[in-house]
């Protein structure tokens, strides 16, 4: 195994890289979010250069957008064999680029594609990788501090990668926001790509894109979420009705997903979505950290739980100690009345 990074030569590693996820000729929003994360880190690292690593085919026109939203440089690998994501060619192109250019930090989206690629790259270049970071910072030794919800989800842990480079992390969509557009002034560098025999060991037979849901839970200003405390499918309808009157989206914790009341797309938390709505209402949710990490940035949190000691109350703006069956139907009625008085546009 090649070990490129040893304690002796940590100094030669410079700059912050962001992997740009792209699908069907469209850059995924999370890529812009990670450029924001990189810019924030750069300020704490003597303005280290931020580079976007962009692979695909016919992506020339898209590259400028990266320069406008935070990249100082774009490493662009444009080749027919990179049109659709495949683990091996992507890993090879990126690993070779790492060996050549030596970035100090490399950020990937914690998406199914991003995690697959980041893990494989980290193993190949022999460095550490942390998963699902909720916060990034630079410590006084100049190292990347990667905060992750830790074992049991009861606690948070700071992960360091002191003796290897690059320091790699995956970050969930929604943790950072796309920055303001700026005057474009960076540079684009084309990366040569060659195909190898092993690239032919895997092929994409077909890709099936789901129709984009009308309003995703991440985009919604109001999210009504239910937990195991709802108890059964029949009562789950109340969650939907409340979301309806508030023109919001429905979300939930892991147990409702396991029960089949919600889909994977609707689970909020560490292994689900990070949301930042204006209003989050959590009903029958105990509030363990795995869920709470996904709602921390909501502007208003209202929690309804019949257990006054439920952990969610430590994280709420309004804590309602009650059986939801007694409160929610009344609340829905009242809100309906109000919306009749003042129709929502």
């Amino acid at each position: 195994m090649i070990s490129v990074s040893s304690v002796a030569n940590l100094k030669g590693w410079k700059g912050i890289w962001v992997f740009i996820e792209q699908e069907e000729g469209c850059i995924a929003e999370v890529s812009f979010e990670l450029l924001t994360a990189a810019r924030l880190l750069s300020r704490k690292m003597e303005l280290a250069e931020v580079s976007a690593v962009f692979l695909g085919h016919k992506i020339r026109e898209l590259s400028d957008e990266l320069l406008i939203f935070g990249a100082d440089r774009v490493f662009r690998a444009d080749h027919p064999s990179l049109e659709k994501y495949l683990t091996l060619p992507y890993t090879r192109v990126i690993s070779e680029l790492i060996f050549e250019k030596r970035p100090e930090i490399f950020l990937f989206p914690a998406t199914s594609l991003g995690a697959d690629l980041a893990a494989r790259v980290a193993a190949r270049v022999n460095t550490g990788l942390s998963a699902h970071c909720t916060q990034l910072d630079i410590n006084d030794r100049g190292e990347l501090m990667q905060v992750v919800p830790a074992f049991g989800g009861k606690v948070m842990a700071t992960i360091l990668c002191s003796n290897h480079r690059p320091q790699m992390a995956t970050i969930r969509p929604g943790v950072y926001r796309r920055g303001e557009s700026q005057e474009k002034k960076g540079t684009i560098e084309d990366v040569p790509v060659e195909i190898r025999p092993e690239d032919r060991k895997q092929r994409v037979v077909e890709v099936h894109w789901a129709k984009k849901p009308a309003q995703t839970i991440e985009e919604s200003e109001v999210v009504v979420a239910g937990g195991a405390g709802i108890g059964n499918q029949e009562d789950w309808k109340l969650v939907g009705q409340l979301a309806d009157v508030l023109h919001g989206a429905i979300g939930g914790t892991r147990p409702p997903l396991d029960e089949g009341w919600i889909s994977e797309e609707q689970m909020i938390g560490q292994s689900g979505k990070t949301i930042r709505p204006k209003l989050y209402m959590g009903i029958g949710i105990s509030g363990v950290i795995q869920h709470v990490v996904g709602i921390q940035d909501a502007q208003m949190i209202i929690a309804i739980n019949n257990d006054p000691k439920a952990a969610i109350f430590q994280n709420a703006d309004l804590g309602v100690v009650a059986d939801f069956r007694k409160v929610i139907p009344l609340l829905i009625e009242e809100l309906k009345k109000l919306s009749k008085d003042k129709p929502v546009p």
Partner: protein, 263 residues
């Protein structure tokens, strides 16, 4: 088909409420919590068993874990696996995903040739979802993550359906390969009484670091590129206003708050 399924025993999530953080030592106290197999790991095993039933061959299960994980491997043998391998050594303690994958890859190489390796898409506790891809890299084989269905295995090629955030992909991959499975893939079988009895006589082998030719500084805390620094309780930023009592009264407060949030 020579199949290997990687299983990670982890403390039972139902008991995680009893995990405490020692405020002084910052150590996590989790004594006495029994380990269980993750639901995705069980699905990985189920899929391995189904593939064996269809194509013949044998299924080995493997876990890198403390000695008590023998019970978890016995459970896997009772479900129908043919042989179990427990990779257990003090030197493995504190391994991150990189080091864990390295240990697993050495053990699989020691087993000899294989056609298919199955993992969960993510484990119960670590839940990084990185071990599958890293293990495949160390073994020099292809990997397919987030598999929701194995559609066919013909002439040395595997056809799978993998989930992505906004849809799915059908991939064709030459064997040998590694796949990580999702909850959609199947519903694991229960263990039968007969299975439990049979499990007792199946091979269950323990390998130490020395058995795998691994030196102490390649793995464990020393060999892991990542280190865990501060462990802390998540910060609570909000000032909560608590209400209880008559529903009618509470609704007034709730509506006031809703208005405050969304006007």
């Amino acid at each position: 088909m020579n199949i290997v399924v990687c299983l990670k025993p982890a403390p039972d999530p139902k008991r995680w409420d009893s995990i405490q953080l020692d405020p002084v030592t910052k150590a996590l106290k989790r004594e006495g919590i029994p380990s269980v197999l993750g639901h995705l790991d069980k699905r990985a095993l189920e899929e391995g068993l189904r593939i064996k039933e269809k194509h013949g061959g044998k299924v080995a299960v493997m876990a890198m874990a403390p000695p008590a994980a023998k019970d978890n491997l016995l459970e896997a043998l009772a479900m129908g696996a043919d042989e179990g391998y427990l990779l257990s050594d003090r030197a493995f303690a504190g391994s991150d995903t990189w080091a864990t994958s390295l240990v697993l890859s050495r053990a699989i190489k020691k087993l000899g040739s294989f056609d298919l390796i199955l993992c969960g898409s993510y484990s119960l506790d670590g839940s990084t979802g990185h071990v599958g891809a890293q293990l495949a890299e160390f073994l020099g084989v292809l990997n397919v993550t987030q598999v929701a269905a194995v559609e066919s295995i013909t002439e040395g090629a595997l056809r799978t359906k993998s989930l992505m955030e906004r849809g799915y992909r059908i991939l064709e991959t030459l064997l040998p390969a590694l796949i990580t499975v999702n909850r959609e893939i199947n519903t694991p079988r229960f263990t039968s009484l007969l299975g439990i009895i049979e499990a007792e006589s199946k091979p269950l082998i323990t390998w130490s670091a020395a058995d795998l030719g691994i030196t102490g500084d390649e793995v464990g805390l020393k060999g892991s590129p990542t280190q865990t620094g501060d462990v802390f309780l998540p910060e609570m930023k909000r000032q909560v206003e608590m209400i209880s009592g008559e529903p009618e009264e509470m609704i007034k407060v709730i509506i006031r708050k809703i208005r405050q949030a969304i006007g």
